[in-house]
Every structure is written in C-alpha cells, then in structure tokens.
Amino acid sequence: MALFKPSSGPHFFLCLLFLASLSACTQHMGFEGRLSPFSKSHFFPDQGSARVPVLGTIPQGVPIGDSPLLTGYENGIPVQNIPMPITSSLLNRGAERYQIYCSPCHGYSGHGDGMIVQRGFLAPPSYFQERLLNAPAGHFFNVITHGQGAMYSYADRVDVRDRWAIIAYIRALQISQHSLMSSLSPEQRQKVLESNPIATPRADNLPGRPE
C-alpha cells in the first residue's frame, strides 16, 4: 500500500513551493490579530492597548492587609524597624536588588553619586545625611513605593518583600559608612585599613571617603 510515493515528490513539491512563495504576501502570519505587550491599539483614544486597572479593584495573588509589612506604616506613622526578620539571605537579596534598581542613581555605596548622576542627572541625597540616618525604615519603604522628588515609584518592579530587603541593605550601607572606628575591634580596624589603604582615620574617627 503506497501512502506516499517518493518518486512523485520533487515535481509536486516544486510546484507547490513555487505557488506558496508567490502567495506568501496574502498569508499575514507576520501581522497577527493579537496584541503584543504595550503595542498600539486604534480602539482607544490614547492608542495604548495596555489599560489601567479600575481604581479599587483587587486582583488575585496580591497581598492585602494593613500590616506594617505591606504599608510601611503602623498606627499612621512610618514603622521604625524593618517588620520582617533580617537574615543574611535577605541582605544578599537586598544587595542584588539594590545594585539593579538603586545603584544607577544612589551609587553602589549610597552616596548619591551613581552613574546617571555622574552624567548630569539630579543627585539624590546621600544615605549618610543626618536626616536619613535617623529616618524610620517606613520612610524608605514609602519612597520606594510612591517615589519622591525626581525619583518615581518603583512599586511595579520591586515587590514588597524586596523593598524591605533593599531597606535592610541600605541600613547595612549606613552602618558601613557611619561606624566609629573606635567601635571596631583592633582586627576589624586592621582589616578596614588593609582593604582600603587610602582611607585614613579622620578627626571624628569616622572612616573617610576615598578622594
């Protein structure tokens, strides 16, 4: 039983392929009747096919609640401490997220001198200002969530847990840049000086910034 005769194939294929290549223009598989993310739609006056959800609706899988973890507030004031246990994995996650999302402006060490600032963008405040050293953790949460000044909201890219991880890392940066040399043990002090030979102890006994 012959379902398929190879001997008759080439001629047939030739004709078929030739016809197919001629008719390729009517097969609109390159232009599809569906929308890719953020593509244009002529239906809406603003031409955007991406629509803003209706205010007040709650999708599935989004944490809801008024706990400090989700809002950064407790009893109406920004929460003082990070409302989740700080572990080394949280700090590592925070470091990673910080370096992705924050360092372009805030700089790797948090002095507000990231690459974009070096190219002329507005400089964000350094984390080592008195104001930010004393700011509650909830303040940072609020700024990441809603933006402040020239900084816009990062809520769509940094989820709630990652925000606290970043805040934990910012706290670590603050400690790293704002500890008294005298609070270190002699070995630790030696280690600091070895790893950063141009840092010289300043009069206030703070580790200095490299020039």
């Binding site: 290549s21 009517t26 097969q27 009747g33 929308l35 209706v54």
Partner: protein
C-alpha cells in the same frame, strides 16, 4: 509496496527537508522571497505602571456573572488590563471552578462591536446629561404625585444593591409599581413551595448524599437550574469510578425532550409532556401516597411504563434519606408540592433536599406578572415604563400582546447591553455596561453573596442598571461602587463579626469574589399534606386535545435570545442534535415516520386557540429518544433587531406560544410544506455501526470483570510507523477523559475557542464541514430493547506517539516535541491538508478562508496574546494548550524546581464542570494522569490502529437497576 519501520523512503535525508532547503535557497536568490513587510511598531507603555501588572503575565480577578438572574463566580484573566478569558471561581459554590458555555462566551459579548455604545433617543444619539435633564422633570413630578404611572420591569433580581434600590424607588414613590418577567422563570417551583409550606422557599439539592435520583423532566445539569454547575459536580462525584472506589448513584429520568440530564440517566423514560403528571401520580401511589383527588384517577400509562416506575419507586424506598425526587420548573405548582411531600415521605426533606430563603427579590405587589403589567398598560395607567434589562417585546409570548401595549405608554425607556427589539420601540435606549466593566453584586442559587468588580474601564459611555436606577430617585452622582460597598457593610453586619476591619473584609471579599458565610442557612421545612389535598381538590387538570403536543425550551446556548449576537454560542453544536446557527422542531423518528418528515423538512405547525389559529413554519429535526406525538421547540431564535450575527437567524417561536413559555400546547397539526431548509449540524451520523469507538458497560459488569468492557491490554502493538527515539523520559504530556462523568455540556469546546483564538466560520461553512473547534463532543446512540443509551465522547487531538499526520506532511509543519506533543509549526504549513486526510480521528482543522479577523481593533483586544492567530491556508488543531505548559515551565525554571502534578491545566480541563478531563505528565508515575491510565477502564480511541494516542478515555459506566436492564446484564462494549 509496503512501508514499514525500516523502509528508507521515509527518512532518507536527501528526500525531504534538505531538498526543500536547497529549493528555498534558490528561490531566495531569485528574489521571489522578499515579501516581508515589517514596518516596526510603536510601544505605548503606561505612564505609571500599576504595581500588580507584569507585562506578558496574566493577572486574574475574581468577579461574578449573572445567568438567568443568579450569580456564578468567575475568575477573569487579564493581560495588561484587558480581559481575555473567563474561568470558573473554585471557591464559589455555584461554579466550583467549572464553567458553563455562557460564562465562557460572555467575553465575546464585551468586545461585541455591535453593543449599545451610546444613548439613543428616538433614533438619535443623545447623552447622559440630556437624559438626566429629561428625568429631573419627571422626578420632580413623581415626588409630588407619589410616582403615579411609573412602572419598572426587570428580570429576576438577586443583587442585594439593586433589590434594595428597587424597593427604595417603590417606597419613595408609593404609587409606582415593579414587575418582573423573564421567559425562563421558576414561578411554579416557588408556588409549589408556597402550597406545601405556606411560603415561598428556595429548594436546593445535595447530590453528594444521594444514591437514587428520580427526576421528572428536571434538567438539573443544564443552566435552567441556577445551581447546575454545583449539581453537575456533586452528581458526577457520586459516579466517578476508580479502582479503589465503589458505589455509584442511580438516576431515573422521565422527560419528553432529550436533555443532557436524560443522556446521563441510567434509566430514561420518554413520555409526552401531558403524561408526566400521570407518571408523578403513579409514582406517588407506588410510594404509598394517595391524595384524595387522585384516588379515582387512572394514570394513562402502559404496563411497561408502570413496571418502570414501580421499580424506580422500590429503589427510592430502599434508600430513605438518600434519595431525591425532582420536578422541572415548567411542571405545574401542585406537582412541585407533591414532590416535596414524596421527598418528606422518603425522609429526604432537610437532607438531600433542603430549603433556604429566596435569593431573588420579589416585587412587593401580589401580582407582579407581565400579564398584569400589560393589563395596566392597555388601561392607560402606565405613563412611564422603565424596562431595566430584558427584551420583552421579543421574548414574551406574542399572545400577551406586550408590543402593542407598549405603544400605549407615553414614556418608554429601555436599558440593555444591545439595541434590541424592545429598544427599537422605546423612546430612550440607555446602554448598560457589561458585567466585566461593572461594580455589582448578586446572590447564587444558595444565597451566597458574590461580588462583581470591573476588570476594565467601560469601553463606551455606559452605566450599570444600579446607576441608572439611582437616577430615578434623583441621585445621578453616586457611583455603583459606593452603593455596592454600602450594601456590603449592611450585609456583613448580619454575619458573625471577624477580627479584621471592615475595609480588610471588603478587600478580601473582592479578591475572593465571595462573601464568606453569606450562603443562607437551611430553613427547616415540613409539608402540609392538608394544604396539598385542598389544592388538588380545587385544581382542574387541563384538558389535552388530541393531536401533537408542543412544549417549549430555551435554546441551550442562545438562551431566550439574549446571546443571539454571540457567534461562539451560535456556532456551538447543541447537545444531542449538534445543530448550529438555527433552531428546529425536534421530534421522534416514529412521529416523523407518521408524518413522513425528515430532518431539514420545513414543516408547518398549527393549532386553534379559541376561534383563532396560530401557526409557525420551522424545520423538523428527528432525534432518537424523543417522546412520540410530542414536539419540542426551542425559543430564542428569530431575532429581528440584533447585531449582524444574531439577526434573522432561525425561527421565532414566541408567537406560537400560549400565555407563558412553560405552557404546553396540545392539539397541534403538522403539515409538510415540501420545502427543504438546510440545517448545519456538525455530526449527522450518531450510531456506532458495530465499531468499538466508544467503550461502555455497566457498574455490575465492571465489578465482575472490567476486562469485559475494555478487553484488550494497552500494550504497544506492531505499528506501521517507526518508533520515536527522541522522546523525553521525564516529561510526557497526556490526557485522560472520563466518559462516565462527561455530561456533554460543551463548556470545553467554547473554553478552547476562547483560549486558543479559534475563529467562527458561519452557517454556510459549517454546512461545508469546515467548523474549527479543536475539541468536539461527539455523541452516539446505542439502542437496546430496554431503552436508548447516549454516549458522549469529547475528541481533542490525540497527540499520537505514532502520529499518522506527521509522516505525510511534506514540509514538516507538524512534528513531535520531545515531551510528546504533536505540534503545529504554522509558518511551515503550506496547506496541503494531507495531515487532515491521514488523521483517523479527524481533529485537524483547516483555514479554508481567512476566518480570523486580523485587522479590526476589538477582536485584537480580546484575543489571547499567547496564542498565534492563524491565517488562511494554515492547518490547526489542539495543542494541549502549549502556551499554558510553557508558562508553567518558565515559572518552574525560575523557581528551580520541576513542574508539579496538576500545575498545567488546559482550557478544556479548567472549564469542565464535572472534572471529566485530567491532564498531566504520564512519565511521573505518581501523577493523576499516570494513575488514571493504569485504570482497568482506560482505553485508546481506535486502539486497533496502534497510533499510541496520549489522549485516552475511561469507559462510560452506567449503573442500571438489574430489574430494568438487559436480562443478560452484559451490556458491555462489544455490540
């Protein structure tokens, strides 16, 4: 020449792809290939991207949908703020995660380009401001005269907010009136409760505790019952057979038409509608209940029927407290009350049958029927009529004369989703928002409060019914959201308090779609037999004229005409007839022979109503198993003012009705017109013809020896095709479909259509056998001396391991993936259709024409962005929802784990209300699908071809009463 595994002609490298490559290259060099025209496209991002949206990932919202007034919980899939798919909400009692075709197809209604887009006053576009200005004059007058002449006509209202507002309007304007009407109502059921218990109560059933069910015409698996998805799940849970589970419920069905419940029944008795009351009376006698009014009555039943009923009665008596007697809404109230009495007698009351307060709001007037409204309208007492939803000009029996009466009302207002027949006759047309754009609430069949949240801003300038009604009390500034929340606050105050704040509870309710604990508590009920005796002693049984009888049913998918403009539902083959795009007069083969009619013959039905005679011309459709001397007509078709899809399709049955859709018409004559009307049916042959395409048997045989039902081992046989060598040993996708619980509802077909961007083709192309559904539900009739058995068999692509389609494709457009999917590469397809010819299951679909609208903006918004839209000349078929497999795979990769069992859910499985479809990885021996494939009832479709399909079936098992079954009791798969 014989081709075997070692025949080199199939895999000779020079003969296939390399040849094509060379050829392709030479054409490219010749410059014929340059037809690509990518012009680049604009990216329009959010200004402020919402926190919860991740481009490319779907976001789900819990909401609800109303069908026939009752709420069903849904999950709406959105992509970048656009709804693209509707699923059932697993935590909602009325859906339990399953879907009905209506739920699925409602998505298309949202994006219907022919929806009502703006206000229309006397045929001219208007604005809401104009309307409010017009209304404010009326409101001022109503405040003075107490709303004299104001009438509101609604459909069934279960929304606590809308109900409160309606009662608010009535109390603010004491002279105003509220009427309610819908063609598929349940007045008889509620009146039955009021006869039996002295008040109207809502009957609910617990199929999970039921062993024997005796249903009198009650199609509880169809959307006529508000709890049908819940009931379908619980009913099939009582039938699902696995190696380690025993016991099965038994269903007796008495009906004239062939319903899907009848198809699922273990014993089905087809009797004319006018004798269903006789069955009821005889059943009561057999159960030992003999009402005075019936003592002298001799039921018109044959000996065979009497034997059938008495065996059913014996079965019921053997399971006190675990049986159930059901009566259809269309049966008269007395028989509902009688059924309640029988249930009480069998100790079922408050067990398998329980009662709750009514989820629906009833108008306070004693007579709030449409007939009394029409009387008032004709008497000139109605000055302003607001028709809030519904389409009474079309969907009320013409006998009542609503359309003529409407013209006597000076101010006529109609709100609705589309501009329909009623809007055409009204001064004002007020466009309603689709439920996917609306805030709202509603109650499910058991009273559960369900919330609606909008998943997209209204596409047009529309308002919800609640917002429209608010304006009637002079309040056109409140949004629906505010009112819904206020009602929520009131509703929660009557529930046990929780630790969380009200705001948190609101948010949680919105997120889940269900207000927890809001289902009504059952009301203990006991039947007053005396009231029943009284009722029946006064009740005259209607006289039945000789000739044919005609009963009326809502169309299974177009419903009362509401979904006429929905092309998915129009093209969905109706259960048991597989008819699309039309309605027909359904009659039995015996009756057809008497009148010498065949399917597709246009017949003329006539009867005399007093001095007048009424007639209709409609094509006949011959259906096995239908009661003799009886005709079933489906209403909903024959719309005159609808969109391009819905208008002038099928035949309008409303003019042929009596005073109500549930009224039985007798004394009908049938004459042939001699005209043939083509009916587009997707399956025109429904007997197995001695093949073993569907395996089936009885519970008794299965317990004895399942091998009698599935006699062969699922062992690999010698095959024509060579073995695949590159299959993944870790990942092997497979599907098992349990035919015992498939109820043939077609939710899978339309769910697949929505998920996979499948086009509709129209009636002419269905007549050409070019319908595109990727999963069809076949049915077969198996006749025996003891009755007719219906076998449903959903057929998606089998994903054969030795796929006959692949071997014949000249371009390798269809090829196997390592995980066992028979994949289509659309861009390689040149449309030879060899694959379709070589597919023994006929599951491949070819785009003969450009069926998908590629350029209109609205369908583009609706389509699943994860699925390619196919163009003309391309073959397509079920992919096992490969986009869903890939999404899960990516997520598992991110989380560095393997895919969990049950994580990949294709659209058909997700939609199935009875969980008949199971999908998973058969390589994982612990997965559900692997275990089901080991079941003794597992079989492969067309096993003898040795295609080694990945889709397999579990044989259909029924549980007959041995006294009523074949004497040999060997009703097994071999015919």
């Amino acid at each position: 020449m014989s081709a075997t595994d070692d025949n080199p002609s199939f895999d000779d490298p020079e003969s296939r792809r390399s040849f094509l490559k060379i050829l392709g290259a030479s054409i490219a060099l010749a410059g014929l290939d340059g037809c690509t025209f990518f012009t680049g496209s604009d990216i329009i991002p959010y200004v402020t991207q919402p926190e919860e949206i991740i481009p490319g990932k779907p976001l789900f919202y819990a909401s609800s949908v109303l069908h026939n007034g009752f709420a069903y919980g849904i999950l709406v899939e959105t992509h970048l703020g656009r709804p693209t798919k509707i699923e059932g909400n697993p935590v909602h009692p009325a859906s339990l995660g399953g879907s009905s075709p209506f739920m699925q197809a409602n998505l298309l209604s949202l994006y219907d380009p022919e929806r009502g887009k703006g206000l229309i006053r006397r045929g001219v576009l208007s604005t809401w401001d104009d309307f409010y200005r017009w209304l404010s004059g009326r409101v001022a007058q109503w405040e003075k005269d107490g709303g004299k002449g104001l009438c509101i006509l609604t459909e069934t209202v279960t929304s606590p907010s809308l109900g409160k507002q309606l009662l608010g309007v009535i109390s603010k304007y004491p002279k105003s009136r509220w009427h309610s009407y819908q063609p598929v109502g349940r007045e008889a059921t509620l009146q039955g409760a009021s006869i039996a218990f002295g008040k109207k109560l809502n009957p609910c059933y617990r199929f999970e505790n039921t062993k024997v069910i005796f249903s009198l015409d009650c199609d509880f698996l169809s959307p006529e019952e508000a709890g049908h998805l819940h009931y379908a799940r619980k009913y099939s849970d009582g039938r699902r057979l696995r190696a380690n589970r025993h016991g099965m419920n038994r269903l007796y069905q008495v009906e004239s038409n062939f319903s899907i419940t009848g198809a699922m029944a273990d014993h089905r008795l087809a009797v004319e509608q006018n004798r269903i009351s006789d069955v009821m009376i005889y059943l009561a006698q057999e159960l030992g209940i003999s009402l005075r009014a019936f003592q002298k009555k001799e039921p018109h039943l044959t000996d065979q029927e009497r034997f059938w009923i008495s065996e059913g009665a014996k079965d019921l008596k053997q399971t006190p407290g675990e049986s159930l007697i059901l009566v259809a809404n269309r049966q008269p109230p007395g028989f509902h009350a009688l059924a309640y009495l029988l249930n009480e007698h069998l100790n079922n009351l408050n067990k398998t049958l329980y009662f709750t307060p009514l989820p629906e709001f009833l108008p306070p007037e004693p007579d709030s029927s449409l007939a009394s409204l029409i009387q008032d309208m004709n008497a000139g007492q109605v000055e302003t009529l607001l028709i809030l939803g519904g389409n009474p000009v079309f969907n009320s029996p013409a006998e009542l004369g609503f359309s003529q009466a409407l013209n006597r009302v000076p101010n006529r207002l109609k709100s609705g989703l589309e501009f329909d027949e009623t809007a055409f006759q009204c001064e004002w047309f007020l466009p309603e928002s689709h439920f996917l754009e609306s805030w709202g609430d509603g109650r499910a069949f058991d009273g559960t409060v369900s919330t609606f949240q909008p998943v997209i801003q209204p596409l047009y300038d529309t308002k919800t019914p609640l917002e429209i009604l608010l304006a009637f009390t002079g309040n056109h500034y409140d949004t629906g959201q505010v009112r819904i929340k206020e009602t929520f606050r009131e509703l929660t105050s009557s529930l046990p308090p929780l630790a969380q704040s009200l705001e948190m509870r609101w948010k949680q309710t919105l997120q889940e779609g269900v207000l927890k604990g809001s289902a009504f508590e059952p009301v203990p009920a006991s039947v007053s037999r005396e009231a029943l005796e009284n009722y029946f002693s006064h009740e005259q049984s209607p006289a039945h004229l000789s000739g044919l009888e005609v009963s009326f049913y809502p169309d299974p998918f177009i419903w009362d005409g509401k979904y006429a403009n929905n092309a998915w539902l129009q093209e969905l083959p109706k259960p048991l007839t597989q008819l699309t795009w039309d309605n027909a007069a359904v009659l039995s083969p015996e009756t057809a022979e008497v009148y010498q009619v065949k399917t597709g013959d246009l017949v003329s039905l006539e009867y005399k109503e007093g001095a007048r005679s009424k007639g209709i011309q409609i094509p006949a459709l011959v259906l096995k198993g239908h009661a003799h001397h009886s005709i079933s007509l489906y209403f909903g078709y024959g719309r005159s003012v609808s969109g391009s899809v819905g208008s002038k399709k099928g035949f309008d049955v409303y003019p042929f009705m009596g005073k109500a859709p549930e009224q039985l018409i007798t004394g009908v004559t049938l004459t042939k017109t001699g005209v043939h009307y083509p009916l587009a049916m997707t399956q025109i042959h429904s007997t197995l013809e001695g093949t073993q395409a569907v395996r089936f048997g009885t519970y008794q045989v299965m317990v004895r020896n399942p091998k009698e039902i599935v006699p062969f081992e699922n062992q690999p046989q010698a095959s024509f095709f060579k073995n695949k060598t590159d299959l993944d040993p870790e990942e092997a996708w497979a599907m098992v479909i349990d035919l015992t619980v498939c109820i043939g509802c077609k939710a899978c077909t339309v769910a697949c259509q929505a998920e996979n961007n499948i086009p509709v083709v129209g009636k002419d192309q269905v007549l050409n056998r070019r319908e595109m559904h990727w999963i069809r539900v076949d049915h077969y009739f198996k006749e025996s001396s003891k009755g007719l058995k219906v076998l449903f068999q959903p057929v998606p692509c089998m994903h054969c391991e030795k796929a006959p389609c692949e071997i014949v494709c000249p371009t390798e457009a269809t090829a196997h993936t390592p995980s066992g999917l028979n994949a289509m590469v659309y861009n390689r397809c040149v449309g030879t259709r060899y694959c379709s010819n070589n597919c023994p299951y006929k599951v491949r679909r070819f785009n003969f024409l450009q069926f998908s609208d590629m350029s209109s903006p609205l369908p583009r918004l609706m389509r699943n962005p994860d699925v390619t839209v196919r163009s003309r000349g391309v073959m397509e078929k079920c992919t096992y929802c490969i986009q869903r497999i890939n999404a899960v795979k990516i997520q598992a990769d991110i989380e560095k784990r393997s895919i969990r069992d049950g994580e990949v859910v294709p659209a058909c499985q997700q939609a199935c209300p009875t969980q008949a479809i199971v999908f998973g990885n058969k390589a994982d021996s612990t997965s559900q699908v692997a275990r089901l494939r080991e079941e003794p009832l597992n079989y492969e479709l067309l096993h003898e071809l040795s295609t080694r399909p990945r889709t397999t079936y579990l044989a259909r098992i029924t549980h007959p009463n041995p006294k009523l079954a074949e004497p040999s009791e060997s009703e097994n798969g071999s015919i």
